[in-house]
């Protein structure tokens, strides 16, 4: 019996898991991220300079690829002609292939397991690439930027990790943002 139902059970479980995961992403929030991300790159100075295009690496697990596509769609809607004469290009990279993001200016981290996340963060620290995570709890792991969801929505910046990477953020960006402090908590 187990052998008969096994393929179906596997399919159902995988389907339900992937659908369940995808549903936990707030599309409005994702849209906000899509607006923020290219501007964060423009408002920062980092090792990987913008040449002709803005390169964003979307790092996700397989079940979040559809969310990543949504993100790309939102970005295209928000910046149909790019921004500031730069075209916005995306690299869809699975966590296991995170090393392929080395030439991008930013890595957008979707949800994943702790091990993969640590590996991705470690990679970004080595390559001094700015990271944005959908979940702001990941700031504690060393992610650079997320969104603070309080009375108002604000950029949430892990200033220490940003500075450790030698990245300089625009003052105006810092002004509107909430700064995360991993020692004293957020302020």
């Amino acid at each position: 019996m187990f052998q008969i139902i096994h393929p179906y059970i596997i399919i159902v479980i995988v389907f339900c898991y992937s659908t369940l995961n995808a549903a936990t992403y707030d599309m409005d929030l994702l849209n906000t991220y899509s607006k923020l991300t290219p501007r964060f790159i423009l408002m920062s100075t980092q090792k990987n300079k913008i040449d002709q295009d803005i390169n964003i690496c979307l790092s996700f697990d397989e079940e979040d690829e559809r969310v990543a596509d949504e993100f790309i769609n939102y970005t295209a809607l928000n910046y149909p002609d790019g921004i500031k004469n730069y075209k916005i290009k995306f690299s869809k990279i699975k966590y296991k292939n995170i090393s392929l993001c080395s030439d991008t200016q930013l890595i957008f981290l979707f949800r994943t397991n702790s091990k993969a996340l640590k590996k991705a963060i470690s990679f970004s620290q080595d390559k001094k690439i700015m990271t944005i995570a959908y979940d702001n709890q990941l700031l504690v792991e060393g992610v650079d930027i997320s969104l603070f969801l309080g009375r108002d929505t604000k950029p949430y910046i892990n200033l220490k990790s940003v500075l450790d990477k030698g990245i300089r953020l625009d003052n105006l960006l810092l002004r509107i943002s909430k700064i995360y402090n991993n020692k004293e908590g957020s302020r």
């Binding site: 849209n31 906000t32 607006k35 923020l36 501007r39 423009l42 921004i83 500031k84 009375r151 108002d152 929505t153 604000k154 950029p155 105006l172 960006l173 002004r175 509107i176």
Partner: protein
């Protein structure tokens, strides 16, 4: 209208002070207003230039709700921000705040009114319009503060002016005392009431100088008074001496120096007066005229000195014989006249005879030789109806004396 220097000085200083004070406060007020406007314009401009990029970035990032919170913070931090309005391009009001009724916009307060478009930094797309209106709260506060300062300075100025006026009055009080003392000063009474002072200010130095001058005037006045007294005494003495001399001269002018009898001039003057009195009172008046007999012979024989002795002897006899009311004078060389008031012809004749006999009996000695003298006498009486002057009587008496001479001398002849 003449005003005192004190009044002019006080008015000048008060007006100058008030004018300077008013000018200074006016300029200060203008300066404060200009500085305030510059500051306010700069501050408002800085604020809006700070706000708009933040609002623009929030719009760009899709964080519209953050703008509301941000503007509330801005509103709380800027008490003079009366009106804030943020309207997007679809005319949807994202944020509006109005503390009170909007003030009427005036050109002079244009720095308080700002409207600015919110533009995306990268796409240059207009995202919204921000309108801000500020109040002049700080200006009003500064004006109130300035008014308080002005009031305090005005009070201090008034107090200082009052002190100045009192001080000036004190200075001029001393001058006024000096003036009154000088006006009341009488050098003879030496009544200058002020004393020398040791102060070294100009007024006291002038006062001391005047006191010194007054003391000198008093001293010189005393010297002058003493000199005047001496002069007056000398003048009085000289006057007395002059009067005495005058009397002597007068006497010498009316008296014959040899016989001490009245001379002819005095007789002429006084006889007319006696004549008038007799005519008015209708009283008798007689005259005796006598001449020493052979007087030329006596002179030639015994010398002039003896002649003078004869004359003096006759004069002495006359003075001894006549009454006090009678007037006797030496009328010529050896002629004598006696005027007899209130005496008729008979009385005059009797007196004439008495005189003649007395002279006849008189013996004069010269070198142990006894010499006798005689006189011829004419007597006349006043005729009240006919005689207008003494000359008429003299002529008649002289005529009778001549008759006596012609009749043998040493006798008395009278007229009818």
């Amino acid at each position: 209208m003449t005003r005192s220097i004190e009044f002019k000085m006080i008015v000048s200083i008060v007006l100058f002070t008030l004018f300077t004070f008013g000018l200074e406060r006016y300029q200060m007020s203008l300066s404060i207003k200009k500085q305030f406007i510059d500051f306010k314009k700069s501050k408002n401009e800085l604020l809006i230039n700070t706000i708009t990029p933040v609002l623009g970035l929030n719009f760009s990032l899709g964080l519209d709700s953050a703008n509301k919170e941000y503007l509330e913070e801005i509103q709380a931090q800027n008490k003079d921000l009366e009106f804030v309005s943020l309207v997007d391009t679809n005319n949807n009001t994202i944020y509006i705040h109005n503390t009170k009724e909007l003030p009427k916009l005036e050109d002079k307060y244009e720095y308080n009114y700002w409207v600015k478009d919110i533009v995306d930094e990268y796409t240059k797309e207009k995202l919204a319009t921000l309108e801000l209106r500020f109040s002049n709260l700080e200006l009003e506060n500064m004006r109130k503060s300035n008014l308080e300062i002005t009031t305090n300075i005005a009070l201090i100025t008034i107090v200082l002016l009052v002190f100045f006026i009192i001080f000036t009055k004190l200075i001029f009080k001393s001058l006024n005392e000096l003036r009154d003392s000088v006006l009341k000063y009488d050098p003879k009474k030496n009544n200058f009431p002020l004393d020398l002072s040791n102060n070294k200010d100009e007024v006291t130095l002038m006062r001391n100088a005047i006191i010194s001058m007054v003391n000198k005037i008093t001293a010189y006045t005393e010297i002058l008074d003493n000199t005047n007294s001496l002069l007056e005494e000398k003048v009085k003495q000289r006057t007395l001496e002059l009067e005495k001399s005058n009397l002597e001269l007068k006497k010498l002018a009316s008296v014959d120096p040899l016989t001490k009898l009245y001379n002819r001039r005095h007789f002429t003057n006084s006889s007319e007066h006696i004549l008038e009195i007799s005519k008015r009172n209708k009283t008798p008046l007689s005259m005796i005229m006598m001449d020493i007999d052979n007087f030329k012979y006596v002179n030639d024989t015994y010398g002039h000195q003896f002649g003078d002795k004869v004359i003096v002897s006759v004069a002495s006899t006359l003075m001894e014989t006549i009454r006090k009311s009678d007037v006797v004078c030496r009328f010529g060389g050896e002629e004598f006249i006696v005027l007899l008031p209130q005496t008729d012809l008979d009385g005059a004749y009797a007196i004439a005879e008495k005189i003649r006999k007395k002279i006849e009996k008189t013996e004069l000695t010269l070198n142990e030789k006894v010499i006798s003298i005689t006189v011829s006498v004419g007597v006349a009486e006043l005729n009240i109806l006919e005689d207008n002057s003494i000359e008429n009587i003299i002529n008649r008496a002289d005529s009778h004396m001549y008759t006596a001479k012609q009749s043998g001398k040493n006798r008395t002849c009278i007229s009818a």
